[in-house]
Amino acid sequence: MLGRLLHAIMRLLQVGGPLIILYAVALHLSWGVLLLLNESAGWATAVHSVLVWIGSEYATAAVMFAVAIAAVAGLHRRLAHSLWGVGLMLPQQAVLFMSAVGAIQAMALSSFADGVVRPNPFIIADQLPAVLIAILHTIGILCYHVFSVARRA
């Protein structure tokens, strides 16, 4: 029973792995565009923690675009089940974890990156997706490249 359940979950994750990665790609492309359009996007908590380490909005937007393109390249069928494929997705994972730590910081301090103070449960509810997507992205990488069944040419 438990084995079947685990098998079903693994199958679900194998299918969902690329979808999680594509979600992160869409997120980073959106953040990149928003940063180029208006500097205020840099005050969003998840974006701010990346921005403070990179420096400028333009450089951060470039990094967002670069990690998104690399992750899409890592989804290519020829790179599936290879360390190159994993390596191309790792920059995106790193950026997601930088956002996640920024979100955890906001939760711990009960304050968003722009200084707005809110009750702790409010910030946890608001910032939890940033933490969950970083964890799910890691599972997605492993499911896509390591745990899925290799297709033979």
Partner: protein
């Protein structure tokens, strides 16, 4: 350590851990694929050997029958 210092450190540690875990997993997977490939080829070779054995028996019976007919002439 402050949260600000932890941001890149966490990202780097988790990325490296994912890379190492993937390398180990892919290595193990490659080994399993290799074993599975050899097992498949072994099964095919055994099938061919059985077929050849059956064919050899049939040819031997034919040979014996022809020798008997020659002996009767």
């Amino acid at each position: 350590m402050t949260f600000q210092e932890a941001i890149p450190l966490t990202a780097v540690i988790i990325s490296l851990a994912t890379l190492v875990f993937s390398a180990i997993g892919l290595r193990k997977k490659a080994g399993l694929d290799y074993v599975s490939e050899i097992e498949k080829r072994l099964a095919a070779a055994e099938r061919r050997a059985d077929d050849c054995e059956r064919e050899r028996g049939a040819w031997n019976r034919e040979r014996v029958a022809l020798l008997e007919r020659l002996a009767q002439i």
